[in-house]
Symmetry: C2
Subunit: 361 residues, 2 copies
């Protein structure tokens, strides 16, 4: 499988992880769950058996190129691509693969979000292999996650005909449903969560983009020409921001003819907010996840994050008699919020914007 | 009243205000309630109309002498007395007045704790005047606070016969009662809270101490002799720690013959823990007291203290969706505790001691 490449989409801003995540330090750089790797580092590490770092490309905001290179020293520096502006995922899924195509016109590409959590990495690799196999023809392939709850925060994929093994056709993509619809989806057994992972041959994605988003095909041709002259960066700087801002799901997958879905069940979590971080963390007998130096007394199901408390003589975080609370402590900001309100961190962001306190965003 | 002096007892350690208050920065130095004055500064400022700083003496731990001099620049430096060791209040009420007596053998002395909150300072001064007048004879005088609730955290004084004006004799002193007893005290109308404020003439206190704690009389005579030689500090350093550790209430007031009580009602609060700080603070419409730079969203009756958030570009404290919570944020520690658990800060102190993290105490 030496023709298999990965394009990691690392364009996130991650306001839902304020104050740890900032405009300058988005979610993919955060260490969440077990171990010391960031979500991005884990995403690259867990595919290594199939796709080694030398065949990994990362598309991120140009502001984050340096930090990304530091986090991924084994990925060649020129394969960390900086977008001058975030334009949703479709331009990213055109541009990353364009770089792969220049190197290997017969490549099969796995496009992977930088920041999901994967609980069972062995099973994940099995599903990845199946998806790569399914993409060896002319189909666009995605992985659909078997839902374990009627989640209203994710998109869904309705399954169609069986193809081979577990692989099915995709009947349709649906956006985040309301609660009742989500419940009917889960009950039906015919719907999977949209994982945002895509697999395709270079020629297949070229055809699909030419058919559904031809403006991107034109742009990539010009980038190819500029690359031949060694001037791609210049042209990207001038033109990338004018590409259409549209998701790859919406712009291509929902319209393409032949979409296949490989179902997967491997402890996937899109790590949407601090409550997910608590879910994924190692917890003590009373459900608390806190730095060892913390003093947590008569408290339950709390999540404490503080870089400042990692050393014995560092900052002490003391919690007494609280429940279901998230406490995130950084150098210049502190957040205290109940777990069930974790999504409302956006209200803090809105207030800081209103106050023009950009320094804290 | 140029013969009226104050001795401020500033020996507190204030673990109940951790992490703001520390061994090295006790409660009397804290700014709690309105304004920018510390409790100690307010204690000195509010008596100024009766007792100017040049007639104020402060007894504090020797570690806190420098900080006390800085907080009270108008009190002569040699009137800030440092105890080599805390020995409860009786040695302090002997030693502070000994200094006054050397200067003015006809002095009347007001012994005042450094750190209560007084809501109505004009009424307080009226009561102070009455107590000073009552002390112009040979009685030991105290102020009793008219209770507004069956508080079990304070000592009580039972009233005896009327003397003149509102002044009464004290029938007995009682230690912190249980709930039922406290309720019966308040219902009876015959009990007041013990404020820990004492008023007496120099000769009256000398007689009382000689009668009930003669070991202190002996010690003060030796200190007087050493002072004459300019070597008091030396003798104090050698001997103070060996004085009996006993409260003035217990060692003298409860045994003395003639105790008078002046009742007072002036918004007195002994500022026992963070919940009191919330009570005394200026609060917004939803009952929150927080630095202006904080972001407090959909929260009620919370108290946030952070030096770090006072400036616009400083630290941001964000609270979302929480109730009745105390958040105290200092350079090297953070406390999160419900208001009703405020007394349990002592559990944090105990845990830090167990871990030998003296730096944070």
């Amino acid at each position: 499988m030496s023709n298999v490449y990965a394009v990691i989409m690392a364009g996130g801003s991650g306001t839902r992880f304020w104050p740890r995540s900032r405009a300058a330090w988005p979610k993919q750089f955060l260490v969440i769950g077990h171990g010391d790797d960031s979500l991005l580092q884990r995403t690259v590490a867990r595919i290594e058996a199939l796709i080694p770092p030398e065949r990994v490309f990362v598309v991120t905001n140009e502001r984050h190129v340096e930090a990304t290179r530091k986090q991924l020293p084994r990925v060649p520096a020129d394969q960390i691509l900086g977008e001058p502006a975030g334009r949703n995922t479709a331009p990213c899924v055109a541009w990353g693969p364009a770089h792969v195509r220049r190197r290997d016109p017969d490549a099969i590409i796995a496009v992977l979000p930088a920041d999901p959590h994967i609980g069972d990495e062995a099973r994940y690799l099995d599903v990845l292999r199946a998806a790569i196999n399914a993409a060896s023809g002319d189909a666009l392939v995605t992985i659909g996650i078997t839902p374990d709850r009627p989640e209203t925060g994710y998109g869904y994929i309705e399954l169609g005909d069986a193809i081979s093994g577990t692989t099915r056709t995709a009947k349709r993509f649906v956006e985040k449903p309301d609660r009742a619809t989500a419940e009917s989806y889960v009950a039906s057994g015919r719907f999977l969560w949209n994982s945002g992972m895509f697999f395709f041959r270079v020629d297949a994605i070229n055809r699909a983009i030419a058919q559904h988003l031809p403006v991107l095909t034109d742009a990539m041709k010009r980038y190819d020409a500029a690359a031949t002259l060694g001037r791609e960066a210049e042209l990207v700087a001038q033109t990338y921001a004018s590409l259409p801002s549209i998701s790859f799901d919406h712009g291509v997958m929902e319209k393409a003819d032949k979409i296949l879905v490989v179902p997967g069940e491997f402890g996937w979590d899109d790590v949407g907010h601090w409550a997910s971080a608590w879910e994924l963390a190692d917890k003590d007998a009373r459900g608390n996840a806190a730095p060892e130096s913390s003093v947590v007394i008569d408290s339950d199901n709390c999540y404490v994050q503080s870089d400042l408390g990692k050393t014995a003589d560092g900052r002490i975080i003391a919690l007494v008699g609280v429940r279901d609370l998230i406490v995130v402590d950084t150098q210049d900001a502190l957040l205290v919020i109940p777990r069930e309100r974790a999504q409302d961190v956006r209200d803090v962001i809105a207030e800081l914007k209103r106050r023009k306190q950009d320094k804290h965003l």
